[in-house]
């Protein structure tokens, strides 16, 4: 049951990281934190596949990883500071 | 066996064909004559039944009253169509055909459904006659249409109530929803209070339209009233009141056609009184009066039409041309005047006598006398302007031959009926058992006429004076204004704000949930 504890640890760190998402003074901070959380949940997905003994979760993790990356790229492309014509935070 | 109205409707369809002008006249005369012949040979008691939706309808049902009405309608149709086919456009002729055809169908209808359908068809066709005539009549047509449809809808509601109460659509004395039928008939009859459309429509519309309308619109109302609402006492007094009101209003008019239209209100008063008696004699008198009234009022309208046609206006002053330049018209006018005044040996005398006989209440008898007297007085004014007063109006153009032929046809008919009134009875097998030309009737018939001449000479300057037409207070317009204002406010709520709309939506959801749950 080591997997469960690891999952719990990761979830704990994700929760801690969420603080930065809530507080983050700038958009970039939030994006970084979100990305970190995303990666953590990706790892959780991988670990869950062992916890439930279902290998299909790894496929999910792969697709999720791709989406995570594209999300970050999209956010980075379009979130700018207000004075540069971006959307206000 | 078909209803004679079908001839007219088919005629209207045939007029759609691209045929030459002359063919049109032949067609028109052919169809109208055929309808007249058809009506003449109809046998009372015939009926046609038809399955429609899940009712059994009787679109054609002949009895004596309807035959009489049908005869005069077809005859008036013949006269008026001949009168106007030269001067109106093809489209208008078509509408006139539809109008006459539906009026005839109403006269022969044996159930409420057919009656309503063709009643509305009359409304539609006549409204379009008015609307399409010229730019000045748009508002009149609008008003006319709305009022007539209101009447029609009232009748429809009455029909529904009647159907719900009896489960039957047969045309018989109404048992349920009487007030609604009353309103419907009252609007058609131009009862006082519901009369606002009449002077407007007849005064503004082109003269040939007024001629056609004057034959059918109110008369169909009378016919339907005799069918559905006979013998309601209170209506007699209402009719009397309506007639007296008509006299008063007619005196104030400066336009001949408005004047004539108010006089229709007076004449309709006779018929209402006759029908309201509820006796056979009363109804028969009313129907005979309907016949006579159609004849002379149509002739009068036609005469005025000729004046309008030749001079362009229909002020009283313009009537002066009649006595000098238009001999046929003059004769016809004189005959019609004597008829409407109820002078013996002219047609109006006969029916007035019957109605007077049928009435047995002193108040109403006096009222009838007063009405006769008033009518004479009014038409003396007409005669005065037409023949006695000097005038300098000149003739623009000669009246068309067809107009004079149509007018002459009706005048001859008037003379025939006036001299030999029993003929009318024998044609329709309606025996009234009355001696027209005995002393009592002659005296009572001639009396108001003579009195009125005397009075007219006395108070001539008040009668022939040109009054300022009083500003009519129209309740319906006020109501309409209120409704439109409400609509405007409602429309202002739709100011394009999506948030508002969404709020309405959500509120509706909550209300719906609450209603369904509790």
């Amino acid at each position: 049951m080591v997997v469960l504890y690891v999952i719990l640890a990761i979830v704990l760190s994700a929760c801690l990281t969420f603080y930065r998402v809530m507080k983050g003074p700038s958009v970039s901070d939030r994006i970084v934190a979100m990305h970190a959380i995303g990666v953590m949940f990706l790892l959780v997905l991988v670990l869950l596949s062992y916890f439930f003994a279902r290998k299909i979760f790894i496929d999910v993790a792969l697709v999720y990883g791709v989406f995570l990356f594209v999300d970050i790229v999209i956010m980075a492309k379009y979130l700018r500071k207000p004075e540069q014509g971006g959307v206000r935070d | 066996m078909i209803t004679p109205g079908l001839f007219y409707l088919i005629g209207a369809l045939l007029l759609l064909l691209p045929i030459r002008e002359k063919m049109t006249y032949i067609l028109a005369i052919l169809m109208t004559t055929a309808a007249l012949m058809m009506t003449f040979y109809l046998v009372p008691g015939d009926r046609v039944q038809l399955e429609f939706l899940n009712y059994t309808l009787t679109p054609v049902k002949v009895d004596r009253i309807s035959k009489l009405t049908g005869l005069i309608f077809t005859f008036g149709g013949l006269g008026s169509v001949i009168y106007c086919f030269r001067i109106c456009s093809r489209a208008n002729l078509r509408l006139i055909f539809i109008f006459i055809g539906s009026a005839l169908t109403v006269a022969f209808s044996g159930d409420l459904f057919t009656l309503y359908v063709f009643w509305e068809l009359m409304t539609i066709s006549s409204s379009f006659l008015i609307i399409m005539a010229s730019d000045g009549t748009k508002k009149t047509g609008y008003y006319y249409f709305l009022i007539q449809v209101a009447g029609g809808l009232s009748a429809l509601w009455g029909v529904f109530l009647q159907y719900a109460a009896t489960g039957d659509l047969a045309l018989k004395t109404i048992e349920a929803g009487i007030p609604f039928f009353m309103i419907a008939v009252a609007i058609k009859l131009a009862f006082v209070g519901f009369h606002t459309w009449l002077p407007l429509a007849y005064g503004k519309a082109p003269f040939y339209v007024a001629v056609v309308l004057s034959i059918y619109t109110t008369k169909v109302g009378v016919y339907v009233m005799s069918r559905l609402l006979p013998g309601i006492d209170i209506l007699a007094y209402a009719g009397l009141f309506s007639a007296l009101f008509g006299i008063g209003m007619a005196l104030l008019q400066t336009q001949v056609r408005r004047f004539l239209s108010y006089s229709i209100i007076i004449q309709v008063g006779y018929m209402i009184i006759g029908i309201s008696m509820g006796t056979v004699a009363g109804i028969t008198g009313a129907m005979f009066h309907l016949v006579n009234h159609i004849l002379y009022k149509t002739v009068l309208f036609m005469a005025v039409g000729v004046v309008v046609y030749t001079t362009g206006k229909d002020d009283f002053e313009n009537l002066g041309i009649m006595g000098r330049k238009l001999p046929v018209t003059s004769i016809a006018t004189l005959v019609a005047f004597l008829g409407i005044a109820g002078v013996p040996f002219f047609n109006g005398y006969m029916s007035k006598a019957i109605i007077k006989d049928a009435v047995n209440e002193p108040l109403l008898t006096w009222g009838l006398n007063l009405m006769s007297f008033g009518t004479c007085l009014l038409f003396l004014k007409f005669i005065y302007y037409a023949f006695l007063k000097k005038s300098t109006i000149s003739l623009d153009k000669q009246p068309a031959l067809s107009m004079q032929v149509g007018m002459g046809l009706l005048t001859v008919m008037m003379l025939v009926i006036g001299i030999h009134p029993v003929w009318l009875e024998s044609v329709t097998n309606m025996d009234v058992a009355i001696h027209y030309f005995d002393k009592k009737h002659l005296v009572s018939g001639i009396q108001p006429f003579l009195w009125s001449i005397a009075i007219f000479i006395l108070i001539k300057k008040y009668v022939v004076k040109n009054y300022e037409a009083p500003l009519p207070y129209d309740l319906y317009r006020q109501i309409a204004k209120q409704v439109v204002t409400t609509g405007y406010q409602l429309s202002n709520y739709h100011d394009g704000k999506l948030t508002k709309y969404l709020l309405w939506t959500t509120s509706t959801l909550i209300i719906l949930l609450a209603l369904l749950l509790f």
Binding site: - | L53, M132, L161, Y488, L490, H494, L498, L512
Partner: protein, 489 residues
């Protein structure tokens, strides 16, 4: 019954092929593809309508009750009849009328038709939602086709409102599945008999709310005139004729089949429906009188007519259902004619305001006559078709004891005359202005006159459509028979 599934596939296939032909053959293939498919579609429709009684079930994918079923019964037959009457005229009309984004217009029109056919035919609750979305999204797209400011704004309002409605329909659908464990309407209906009153009534409220938005009952109507105003007018024919009607269809299907007539009676939904209808058409008539834009006027009139239909369908008697269904058909025809005539005026001299129509009655005598006929029919004057259906509705309302509703319908008739007459009078007002105009060809006139003549034909011989409509109430008032057929097939 193989033809029934083709009713949905054929428009889709046509739409997709138009999409391909747009890229490779630009305009060459458009005309044969569109008209050929429309004619074929007409043939299919007629053959399906012909076999709509007794009802037949077609199982997509041969799964029986496990999968999705398609069912043709007289009620859907009526809607299919409407598609048959409207679709080919609209296509013929649009080929001449639409000059911009032609391909997109036809793609979306065909998809919309497929969606409507799907909604009409399906006997599966979720499938109904899917096809509802297909039809409403494509109709949104058609609204935006002109890309003017007003069009975009109207589309946005339409989309927001209709999506809000869809959410509630979806919510109710999910919960229905949760409660019954199936999506087949017949099985749901059987399973619903054990569900407590409270749950059922809340679900019903959601369904009604969702569909009422698409129908446009006041006060959920606000999107409707906005979306009509700037959309291509031939689309409005389909929109008022089919899109709104399919929502009515779905609502009635859901209420009468899923919940059953007894439940409607028990909750008082019938009363609510009738009162709602009365309020709707009275207000809609008042609003319509205020409009200066003919299309908006017609849109408000559509709302009012839909309210008549609602009353007819919620009266809850056989006659009421017949009247309501007949009015569904009639309204489609009449409103189609009116929109066509306005479209021709718009095509010839870009006239959409009432004051622009001045004097057109003398320029286009036949078209104006058609307009007059259709407007008198929609007002409900005899001897046109609108009168017959209103007669039936009023009679049914009176029979069932909704005296106020019956009386209000007559009042509404009067009110509707006020504004239609306004337009007609303007049409026949002479004007001195010389107007430059394009001559409308036969392709524009023919559909208009066809629909206009139907107004008269159905008024004089109402037994033609009524022979189909008479069979509808059997399957709605008593849903047992429908259920047994669906379960058995």
């Amino acid at each position: 019954m193989q033809a029934a599934i083709w009713l949905i596939i054929l428009p889709l296939l046509t739409a997709f092929f138009i999409g391909i032909s747009k890229v490779f053959y630009s305009y060459k293939l458009l005309f044969p593809l569109v008209t050929g498919s429309a004619i074929l579609y007409l043939y299919l429709l007629i053959s399906v309508i012909d076999h709509s009684y007794p009802p037949k079930v077609y199982s997509v994918g041969d799964w029986g009750l496990l999968g999705i079923n398609i069912m043709v019964d007289p009620f859907s037959g009526l809607l299919l009849l409407m598609i048959a009457l409207l679709f080919l005229p609209v296509i013929v009309f649009s080929l001449k009328y639409i000059t911009f984004h032609t391909h997109n217009y036809f793609i979306l029109t065909y998809i919309m038709t497929a969606g409507i056919a799907g909604m009409v035919l399906t006997a599966d609750l979720f499938n109904l939602y899917v096809f509802l979305e297909v039809s409403s999204l494509s109709s949104c797209a058609l609204v935006a086709l002109k890309k003017t400011n007003k069009a975009i704004e109207g589309t946005f309002k339409y989309l927001v409102m209709s999506t809000l409605g869809s959410f509630f329909i979806l919510l109710a659908t999910i919960l229905t599945y949760d409660l019954t464990g199936t999506l087949n309407m017949a099985e749901i209906s059987v399973a619903f008999q054990d569900i407590p009153f409270q749950i059922k009534s809340i679900l019903m409220a959601f369904f009604i709310f969702g569909y009422a938005i698409k129908i446009g009952l006041i006060p959920l109507h606000a999107w409707l005139p906005d979306s009509y105003e700037e959309s291509p007018i031939p689309y409005n024919v389909l929109s008022s004729g089919l899109v709104m009607k399919s929502a009515v269809y779905a609502l009635i299907r859901v209420l009468y089949i899923l919940f059953g007539f007894d439940f409607l009676d028990e909750t008082g939904m019938l009363q609510i429906g009738v009162v709602w209808g009365v309020v709707t058409f009275l207000i809609a008539h008042l609003l319509a009188f205020q409009q200066s834009n003919v299309i908006r006027l017609l849109a408000y009139s559509s709302i009012a007519q839909i309210a008549y239909i609602t009353i007819g369908l919620f009266v809850g008697t056989e006659r009421g259902l017949i009247g309501g269904n007949f009015h569904i058909l009639n309204h489609a025809i009449m409103k189609g004619t009116l929109f066509f005539v306005i479209a021709i005026f718009h095509y010839s001299l870009t006239a959409v305001d009432i004051k622009d129509l001045k004097g057109l009655g003398f320029r286009f005598p036949l078209l104006s006559f058609t307009f007059v006929v259709a407007s008198l029919a929609i007002v409900g004057l005899p001897p046109f078709n609108g009168f017959i259906s209103k007669w039936l509705i009023v009679e049914a309302a009176l029979d069932a004891g909704f005296i106020y509703a019956a009386f209000s319908i007559l009042v509404g008739t009067f009110l509707s005359l006020t504004y239609y007459l306004k337009v007609i009078v303007t049409l026949y007002t002479k004007t001195d202005k010389t107007i430059e105009m394009k001559e409308p060809g036969l392709a524009l006139k023919l559909p208009t006159i066809f629909l206009g003549s139907l107004c008269i034909v159905f008024g004089i011989a109402p037994s033609l459509p009524l022979s189909l409509i008479d069979k509808i109430p059997t399957f709605l008032l008593d849903h047992e028979e429908y259920i047994s057929i669906l379960l058995g097939g």
